[in-house]
Amino acid sequence: MTPPQEPPAPADGAKPPQGPPAPDNDGRTGLDAHLVVAPTPTFHLDITLTATPGDVLALLGPNGAGKTTALRALAGLTPLTTGHLHLDGTDLLHTPPEHRPVGVVFQDYLLFPHLTALDNVAFGPRCQGATKSEARAHARDWLDRMGLADHTTAKPRHLSGGQAQRVALARALATHPRLLLLDEPLAALDARTRLEVRAQLRRHLAEFEAVAVLVTHDPLDAMVLADRLVVIEHGRIVQEGTPADIARHPRTDYIAQLVGLNLYKGRADGHTVRLDAGPAITTTEDLTGQVFVAFPPSAVTLHRDRPTGSSARNLWRCEVAGLETHGDQIRADLTGELPLAADLTTVAAAELDLHPGAPVWATVKATQTHAYPA
């Protein structure tokens, strides 16, 4: 990670426009929020978020989990039912959105279609009291920094998806926010642009010196862009931690699927874990009590007949429920003694004559499983 940089100094010595709220700074910096939003009787968001300046937090979760509601609540666009919101020691609970030092990159960017890229970026500084020329000079610096010096006079409809995303980022950063919010920042891009923009965004987020919170349903975006993941399901935090930690120790089916692991819960007694779902799994870890057991689909080996002389301790009789292609691999969805996902090559799938309904034997070596306390 590159060290945080100062925001570009505005041209002709103009002082950078600052957000109106005067911090009653009591020494704490960063974000400290408890967001409770209950817009309908059936939906209830209740999450706690903390972050220090420089942190990039990703809210990850399935559609309808409440990620965007959380983001809107942070921006002040959706009122909190209850809870608190402190940013750098300032209570923002009753601060209207226009007075919050918060920048937002919206999902489809929402660049003002009647303004040029330059005037879109200059909009924020103008609203914060800069003169037209100051605001434009400031905006030009930001666009320059985003590699968009040649597109200052372009209207949003003439920008590519990746360019529009950078203009939106520049527009949000030009107000010097202490909290940057990004709602599905890469969702509007096609696969190829996405790769490139993700790398750029990662660089810009690494340079950003305050707190950034991004919302995504794409685990890859979350893991590449964020230092810490907060997984939300049904309006609640189900797990949080570093990307590596969450990938290794998923605690819900949703996360396990996201990171591509088979996940089971059971009771451990030594090297044997009796699963809630039925059979037992032999693991290398020596644990007692409630545990999770996880292993990747690539650790599963399939056989047409019951294998003899196999060293695998874990052997289950299954049936193929479905097959789908994952790159050059085939992902087999198995039911039976133990529901699981298995990856195999196209050649192997053909040799095994896999088709929905086909009976197979699945084996997993104990060394490829991973058990951890629940």
């Binding site: 957000g19 666009l77 226009e98 918060v102 919206f106 929402l110 003002f112 279609p113 909009f123 107000t175």
Partner: protein, 287 residues
Amino acid sequence: MTGPDRTGPTAATPKTGPDGPRRRRRRARRAAPLPLLLPALVGLAFLLLPLTALLVRAPWSSLPEQLTSAGVWQALRLSLVCATAATALSLVIGVPLAWLLARTDFPGRGLVRALVALPLVLPPVVGGVALLLALGRNGIVGQWLDAWFGITLPFTTAGVILAETFVAMPFLVISVEGTLRAADPRYEEAATTLGASRFTAFRRVTLPLIAPGIAAGSVLAWARALGEFGATITFAGNFPGRTQTMPLAVYLALQNDPAAAIALSLVLLTVSIAVLAALRDRWMTTT
């Protein structure tokens, strides 16, 4: 799109371009069934016949002197001034009203919308009577205007403007409200997160976005104001040079100088065609 398949490798020549749309249009034209075609033609004739009659009976030879008479110019100028003033007034109070209806939620909003649209269906004469009862010398507000400020509205040019505004403003409000509803309110939210107050967001983001709707609504309101008759003659009377607008002049002329009435009507017809031309992008192209 169909070009390249037929012409193969030489498809790059621009000559094949226009073929596509023309062929498609020809294919779309199919014989209409008689039970629909006949009434349709009768309906078309019914709409066009009076306009044709107007053109046939127009006193073309004496038209120049009819149109250059002082009375015609007076009425035309008054009409243009009043219709423009009524449109301006409608913009100042109608656009905020449209915003309120489209962007805020308050109890009874449906009822308010219906009331705003009422002048669209209300007979204009009734509107005129209602204006008299409200703003007339003895009206519920008018008596105080008279007593406190010495302002008398009925039978004045200001009265004409008010009568026209009353009838024409709903066209603007309805048009602008529709455009506002179609415009994405999240642009206003985006502006807010950039530090814009709600009014700044409206002024710098929403207003430019809905400008086409405002323009169309203004033209509609202006045309309606220009042709306004019932409310004007009831509330403002028929005084040449002061409250006698073109429609009133036409009606009066028809009693004693039909040729002048036709000439005046032609002027209004011309203005109407111009309005239609101004709105053609919006209405004359379907889908």
